[in-house]
Symmetry: C2
Subunit: 331 residues, 2 copies
């Protein structure tokens, strides 16, 4: 069986561009003992991957040059020599950026697609959804009646988090860029929507919809958003920070206004986090998500591009605002 896969050919400087990636056709070996052959249905492109394309070791190793990249994917089992999986089963894995693969069955996660479609396990029921859940539940400790500001509300984490925060009984302010995305986050249930591209004073725009300030801020953007968050949080406010997409492609040193003294006068708590450190919350997440879905409070949202050859374009699109909801590549 043949599979096309995406190789990184050089570490990125600045914005992602198709020139950094090669589409390479390979032979997928037949599965050996304990192995399965899987055809991917959807692969995930996520902002955190930008760090791995820089060649710098942060909390996760960089991608190898001239090698296929790893990433989230959901697929269908074609052949199995592993007791726990049979042809037709759906699995999620980190074997993304390729059309098919052979791997030990023990390293794959069987997913139940009777309620949600497979691709939801890359979005609201997967890593971005768990990220939103951990941020709201553990980092912000959001309480019913509180006001939450969700940044990048139209993104994979943001679109999940808006719905979770509403289900948790909060008032939700969502920021997004442009009229189309603002309409989208409104459709997800956000109480107030602010188009950050339509204002040059984000602090004033948030204050206009939350005159008494916000209790929690979910940071996906960084830069001017962070500054406005310090300005608009009320006493004992909390920030959960899992991403700062505005900064990932910077090639020169950026600066920001220094309003950090706000964190003292207001006794703010700011927590950066990486979702993989919080796998212990997965059981609670699945339970709450199931209940919220049963109550009709959740709708998955995704933007889909077709064909493995378009995976680099889909990834680039994360940084130019091409997606509403989770960005996926359909194989």
């Amino acid at each position: 069986m043949k599979s096309r896969e995406i190789h990184l050919n050089a570490y990125l400087k600045g914005a992602p561009d198709p020139k950094y990636y090669d589409v390479v056709e390979t032979d997928v070996p037949a599965p050996g003992a304990g192995e399965v052959l899987v055809r991917n249905l959807y692969i995930s492109v996520d902002p955190y991957m930008r760090g791995r394309m820089s060649g710098v070791h942060t909390y996760i190793a960089p991608f190898g040059i001239g090698q296929v990249m790893d990433g989230g994917a959901v697929g269908e089992v074609i052949e199995s020599n592993f007791d726990g999986l049979k042809p037709g089963d759906h699995v999620s894995s980190m074997h993304g950026w390729r059309e098919a693969y052979t791997a030990p069955g023990a390293g794959l996660t069987k997913i139940d697609t009777s309620i949600l479609p497979p691709q939801a396990f890359l979005g609201i029921a997967g890593m971005p959804g768990l990220t939103a859940y951990v941020g709201l539940k553990r980092m912000i400790d959001l309480q019913p009646g509180e006001t939450l500001w969700m940044s990048a509300g139209a993104g994979a984490v943001g679109s999940s988090g808006i719905q979770f925060a509403k289900a948790m009984g909060a008032t939700v302010i969502a920021t997004a860029g442009g009229a189309e995305k603002c309409a989208f986050v409104k459709s997800l249930g956000a109480d107030h929507v602010v188009d950050y591209k339509a204002t040059d004073d984000l602090t004033a725009a948030i204050t206009a919809v939350a005159p008494d300030g916000v209790d929690g801020y979910f940071e996906n953007v960084g830069g001017t958003h962070f500054t406005a968050a310090l300005n608009t949080l009320r006493r004992k406010g909390r920030i959960a920070a899992c991403g700062m997409i505005q900064r990932y492609n910077d090639t020169s040193a950026a600066t920001l206004p220094d309003n950090l003294t706000m964190m003292i006068g207001k006794s703010l708590t700011i927590r950066g986090f990486i979702v993989s450190d919080h796998a212990d919350m997965f059981t609670d997440f699945v339970s709450d998500l199931g209940n919220w879905m049963a109550a009709g409070k959740i709708k998955p949202a995704e933007t889909v591009m077709d064909g493995i050859e378009n995976a680099p374009a889909a990834f680039s699109g994360l940084f130019t605002g091409q997606n509403t909801g989770k960005m996926l590549v359909k194989i």
Copy 2:
């Protein structure tokens, strides 16, 4: 009885200057029922007072123009109509910036000066000491064997915190400005001392003494110190922020390098706090401080200026590095 006191005559713009203050002589009334007459022995000048001199309501109301200011003070009871206090007793109060006062005895705190001199209750055994304790214990949750970076190590909070962190079993890096202050923080027990005025790359200077990074950073300074802290903290590092003295006199908007993404990759926790929110820790503080003193691990450190008329100069001196340890005015 006459008392001289310090009135604020205008809200400050920029650095403190004696022109903003008047020395006014008043008559202290004889104590009525339940009241005591107290002669202050020492008054406290503290960086947080700068905020109250700006005319802006933050977490605490601004000082009134043309009125005597409030602030920490320790004094001796001269006359008493209050059952709990007798002449010769020592009390701490918020009736600072004046030589003497009459007030209800119920609002004063009797202090035990058999072990520590009265002025220590304005420093290591008072608000600055409790601030250091809360920051280390509750905000940073410092563990034995960890590495702590204490900024403004020669200040009232810093000089207390260095000694507390050593008593808690940590390795302590202290930053201070100039050779004299560096020698002082070394004498308090700091394992490593960095003169921030002698380097233009604080990140490199901290890394040189802590190649594996620091676990906790105690923020008293802000600006370039905060940036270097994000750079040098290791994974799951914690920042306690109770002051940013570098910023208090800014009259125009300051900027700082945007390295905030560090807080995500390293999963940092940053907690701003105001000591008055943590009065519940006072009992533990007194107990630990007593044990550490009995073990010979603590020495109070102060800089004393003489005469109420020099209180404005003492306050200005906080921002120009005139103090090692707690800055006090002896009456």
